[in-house]
């Protein structure tokens, strides 16, 4: 007679399950639709490097190569040149004419950031660095430099990645 008992209790089970579903429907969702949306990263995240500028747009990097010599895997190449009144890149006498990081070799240890005497290079928040060819992982100066518009203040922190925003309900 088990069949009779289950027939009678069935709707109750269903009602209980529905209750659970309805309860969760009121909570916010936790799934993030990567890569359209990304999780906020901690402020000291060691993602892809950023080369910074001063408020007036001049580059902070002087091409001293201390980051390159501090780097344990030797993935930074810097070549310096002299500023002239006609071609001024950084405030002092010297600037980095060439600045390249091999992002495939980089172990994201942050020692370059520690070594830099001018806070010119910091580890940024970007970690989504997939691409389809090894050559595309040689980040040149243009890739690493902060865009001119972003240099709002001397002390500007690395620009944050698009953070996870509350997702509008679709139903």
């Amino acid at each position: 007679m088990a069949g009779v008992k289950e027939t009678l209790l069935g709707p109750i089970y269903i009602a209980r399950a529905m209750l659970t579903t309805l309860k969760h429907n009121r909570k916010p969702i936790v799934t993030i639709e990567y890569p359209e949306r990304q999780k906020p990263v901690p402020p000291r995240e060691r993602g892809r490097h950023i080369l910074h500028r001063y408020a007036d747009g001049l580059e902070k990097c002087v091409g001293c190569e201390l980051c390159a010599i501090a780097c344990p895997v030797g993935c930074i190449v810097v070549e310096a040149a002299e500023n002239t009144p006609e071609h001024r890149v950084s405030p002092g006498e010297r600037y980095a004419k060439r600045y390249e990081i091999n992002l495939l070799r980089c172990i994201y240890c942050g020692l370059c950031e520690e070594a830099c005497p001018y806070d010119a290079i910091t580890m940024g928040p970007r970690y989504d660095l997939a691409d389809d060819h090894p050559d595309k992982f040689i980040a040149v100066k243009e890739d690493l430099l902060e865009p001119l518009s972003a240099s709002i203040s001397d002390t500007a922190l690395p620009t944050a990645a698009p953070s996870a925003q509350p997702v509008a309900r679709k139903w």
């Binding site: 091409g63 001293c64 190569e65 201390l66 010599i69 310096a80 002092g92 006498e93 010297r94």
Partner: protein
């Protein structure tokens, strides 16, 4: 010079006993037992001044600390270089030096090889207590077109001013103002004229004096360093080629007491842009009037075929900056393979060379009492570092007579009969006058009279020794009737081909008027060279070769000293010059089998025993073997 019996003294440094000759400085005595005393102002080639106070040490029974760079040792002295008091003074000296030092190491060319950096790490205080604004001075002041001075970085060690007073004698740099306002400068801020300015950058213990050419080019740890010889002139100063990414960044000096005494001239030091390769050039041959690119093998085949057609009517010119190994093969190629005696390395007509032209070694100038520069300044210009040796000797008592080439009589009268050792220095062009003066002097004075002829190019002497001459074979042997024609006689000699080999644009084949009339009509011109020149337009075969800085080999300086040069810049895609010569010879049936440069050197030494000096970096002496 008779060996002087030197008195010795024994002292104790940090508990270690050391015996040194009397008149040694504490600093040098400590070095004997491997104890390093930090210094800034002291320099082994200059008199002590003890202005930086970095070398203070404790000496027992002396009330205060003593500067090790200026106090001579005494018997029984007890020196302590590592005590609390010494340490405290070293920290204090460094703290004072750094008060106004800008510490802009990140943009300073000396950073990474800077004694101030190193010693601050080793002996200095970790932090500064000075919280006020630093004194500011001018930065990046051009002292000349070669030197940049940063007055903030200067620690007033006086090394540069002492160089200009004691080493070059030109007194161009001076300390201006007093106290904290003291700066280094030239008279009236006029650009410095000296030909020895590059040395200031090497002796400056900070980055105050730096080279314009090397400015921001590299960091010391990026450089690949290769020992070599300066390609500038026949002096043969030893250099270190510092290259970054296979590109020369600078020439630095490399001390050889017998030759350069650790200095270089600016002409040689700053000549390296001439040796930068601009493009990856391929061999070219002229077909129907136009040059076309071909492979090395094709160019060699073409050259060999054309040379066969020319028969023995081939002349060869090898530049005086080729290595001995290349010259050895070049001579064999002409004398043995082409059967042609028309061989030369000289820019024009010159008096015949003789082994006696090197009877006065460079270092022996210091032991002369009279030196005659026949041709005056011209002699110095031909081998500029010679001036520093002469000036050093003058400070020790040498009398230098600078006379014109025609004024031998004046020099003869000026040298007294009781002179012990007399030297005659002249360029090889003025050799006849020098030999005449030498023989007249020998009759007049009691002592020896020797001469030193300044050849052209870093290996002009080697070219003569190896017989790149129309009328002399290797070792100056006479060719007994088989003499060929020298370069000046080539136009109009009915030649059908010329092979020019040169590895340095500094000593290239510069065409004379007669040659520029003659060369365009020549049926075959093979131009085997490092850098392109107007001769390219006339050549029928152009074979790229290695530069002086891109190959291994040996070169012989004007006094006959054989020194090695090594590959500093890799240009492996260019076939080595000697391999090209070997290939041409083998196409003509020679059967040479040299596998590397060392084999050629070995054969050269077998053929010419005095060149055993190669392996000892010694002078080639011809006395018995002729």
């Amino acid at each position: 010079m008779a060996a002087v019996q030197t008195e010795t003294v024994t002292l104790t440094v940090n508990g270690q006993s050391v015996t040194v000759p009397k008149g040694t400085l504490i600093l040098d005595a400590a070095k004997e037992v491997g104890i390093d005393i930090p210094i800034f102002c002291s320099h082994p080639k200059m008199a002590p001044v003890a202005v930086c106070r970095m070398c203070l040490v404790e000496v027992e029974k002396m009330p205060k600390l003593q500067p090790a760079c200026a106090v001579y040792v005494a018997d029984g002295m007890v020196v302590k270089t590592v005590t609390d008091q010494v340490n405290k003074y070293q920290k204090g000296v460094l703290e004072f030096l750094l008060i106004n030092h800008p510490l802009d190491c990140p943009i300073c060319d000396k950073g990474g090889e800077c004694p101030l950096q190193d010693q601050t790490y080793q002996y200095g205080p970790g932090a500064s207590r000075f919280t006020f604004d630093k004194a500011h001075f001018d930065k990046a002041v051009p002292l000349s077109d070669r030197i940049v001075l940063d007055r903030e970085r200067c620690i007033l060690c006086w090394r540069c001013t002492r160089f200009s007073e004691e080493i070059s004698g030109e007194r161009e740099l001076a300390l201006i103002q007093r106290g904290v306002h003291t700066i280094i400068g030239t008279y009236n801020d006029e650009p410095a004229q000296s030909n020895y300015q590059g040395n200031w950058t090497e002796i400056c213990p900070v980055g105050a004096l730096t080279s314009r050419q090397y400015r921001f080019i590299s960091r010391p740890w990026d450089l690949d360093r290769t020992a070599s010889v300066c390609p500038g002139c026949a002096m043969g100063c030893n250099i270190q080629i510092d290259a970054r990414n296979n590109k020369i960044g600078r020439f630095q000096s490399r001390e050889n007491v017998a030759v350069d005494d650790s200095w270089l001239c600016d002409y040689g030091r700053y000549s390296f842009p001439n040796f930068q390769r601009e493009s990856q050039e391929r061999p070219r041959i002229r077909r129907n009037g136009a040059l076309e690119e071909v492979s090395f093998d094709e160019a060699i085949g073409f050259a060999a075929d054309q040379l066969t057609q020319a028969g023995g009517q081939v002349a060869g010119w090898a530049s005086p900056s080729d290595t001995n190994e290349e010259l050895f093969l070049f001579r064999r190629l002409f004398r043995d393979v082409f059967q042609s005696p028309h061989l030369d390395h000289r820019p024009g007509a010159l008096p015949d060379p003789e082994p006696e032209d090197t009877s006065l070694p460079i270092a022996d100038i210091e032991h002369l009492d009279h030196a005659i520069l026949l041709g005056g300044q011209e002699v110095i210009d031909a081998a500029p570092v010679l001036h520093l040796r002469l000036f050093k000797s003058q400070r020790k008592g040498l009398i230098v007579h600078k006379v014109g080439v025609g004024e031998g009589k004046k020099a003869l009268d000026a040298v007294p009969a009781e002179a012990q050792a007399v030297g005659v220095l002249a360029t090889e062009a003025n050799k006849s006058a020098a030999v005449e003066l030498q023989s007249r002097l020998s009759k007049k004075v009691k002592g020896s009279v020797r001469r030193l002829m300044i050849t052209t190019g870093p290996n002009g002497r080697g070219a003569k020794d190896l017989g790149i001459l129309p009328h002399l074979g290797p070792g100056y042997v006479s060719l007994n009737g088989q003499s060929g024609k020298g370069r000046v006689e080539w136009p109009g000699a009915g030649l059908r081909a010329v092979y020019i080999h040169e590895s340095s644009p500094l000593h290239a084949f510069a065409t004379s008027d007669a040659e520029s009339m003659w060369l365009p009509g020549l049926p075959l011109l093979i131009y085997h060279r490092f850098k392109s020149s107007p001769l390219d337009d006339l050549a029928h075969v152009i074979i790229p070769g290695h530069a002086f800085t891109e190959k291994d080999g040996t070169v012989t300086n004007m006094e006959g000293r054989v020194q090695r040069i090594k590959t500093a810049i890799d240009a492996a895609w260019v076939r080595e010059d000697w391999r090209v010569m070997q290939a041409i010879a083998n196409r003509l049936g020679a059967g040479w089998t040299y596998a590397d440069v060392a084999e050629i050197t070995a054969e050269l030494v077998r053929a010419l025993p005095p060149y055993a000096a190669v392996n000892q970096a010694e002078r080639v002496t011809w006395s018995e073997n002729r």
